[in-house]
Subunit: 211 residues, 2 copies
Amino acid sequence: MPATPAPQSPPPAPGRPPGRRLPGGPVLQDSVTEAIAAAFFEELAATGYARLSLEAVAKRAGAGKAAIYRRWASKLEMTVDLVSAVAVDASGPADTGSLRGDVLAFLAEVAHALNQPLAARIIPDLIAEGGRTPELAEALFTAVRDTRRGKATRLLDRAVDRGELPAAVDRELALDLLAGPLYWRLAVVHTPTAPDHLDRLADKLVAAFRA
Amino acid sequence: MPATPAPQSPPPAPGRPPGRRLPGGPVLQDSVTEAIAAAFFEELAATGYARLSLEAVAKRAGAGKAAIYRRWASKLEMTVDLVSAVAVDASGPADTGSLRGDVLAFLAEVAHALNQPLAARIIPDLIAEGGRTPELAEALFTAVRDTRRGKATRLLDRAVDRGELPAAVDRELALDLLAGPLYWRLAVVHTPTAPDHLDRLADKLVAAFRA
DNA sequence: TCGAGACGGAACGGTTCCGTCTCGTCTATG
DNA sequence: CATAGACGAGACGGAACCGTTCCGTCTCGA
């Protein structure tokens, strides 16, 4: 019974950090665990969550099915755990000194994420699946939506502090405007973007915030 | 000439219009066909395209599987056909006399569509599936995206004619701004909307277009 | 009246996947 | 060096669907 805490074992570390069965925190130190995680995301992009088969994940990872079941109890648990793990980055606040600069930095970050081919396929799929699987929706919300939401809110707060926006700026709308158009273009309609696309979008958004 | 051409048959109608096997045009006169279509969309909303089982559709419709296979050759063909059928409405141009009025009317139409519970579940699912199934993506594009795109383009043209926008208005960005924020809010993040939400959004969008 | 054909229903063999379990191998600790 | 434990591989029974085929019934138009 390796993975589970093994309450009686001697003082030092119980071997090397194994995976774990219950949610609580991503691990991934294991090379087998890493291979499984990579295979999981590739399979997720190719097949979609609904049709994703743990058998295919195991085969792609060059692992046995037992290696997966030793780490997670189910496909849903595995998904929640791995998705939460990758979304934790949260990264820097990106204070560029001006509202337009901050907006542009935010857009560039979103665009960069959505231009990853794997992410562009996986994210819409998980969002759609979240409509059917509340646990998955919650994991997405706390890991992704709330993180971005926090960044965008701080972006607006800084602009208010600088006097670039009135204190009463409509934050709800601003958040939708920051995320919506890019998501729509890159993840829904798959339209190519001109090199200065983000620049022009940033101009429009700043104008909208000030309205 | 509803069903197959039936080149030799006498002048009058050959019975009643049956479904048909190949794409080309929605029919749906049949009561059985209607029941199947309704069951299909309910099942699609509940299960998602990937897991949708024609057996379940037949059961929900109170029909036999043979009744489905008599009309469509596969799940994909059925989906393309039925989705194209519902999206054809296209509706009126909605010229309200002002840019802001037109924008608001456009937003209201989008919001109304996305507030249908079935649509709100089905659309993100089909979009995600479209990333994996080119035929489905194409059906969605020609039936939905191009229709909306045309409406939005005419909306901008009218504003240019009125002198409300410069002729060089950035149509690409405007289209993303019209669709993206609402789609983001209603279909991705599922956030409730205040009663005056569309009004305030329309103000922001008009300001953005003019920037 | 009678035949054509669509109907609901049920069963068919063939896949695919699940979650469990058993092999024999490899490796690292003690 | 011995051995415990994780490993890859894959067989297993059970379940769900697929797409097809067959019933026996019912409703038409000829």
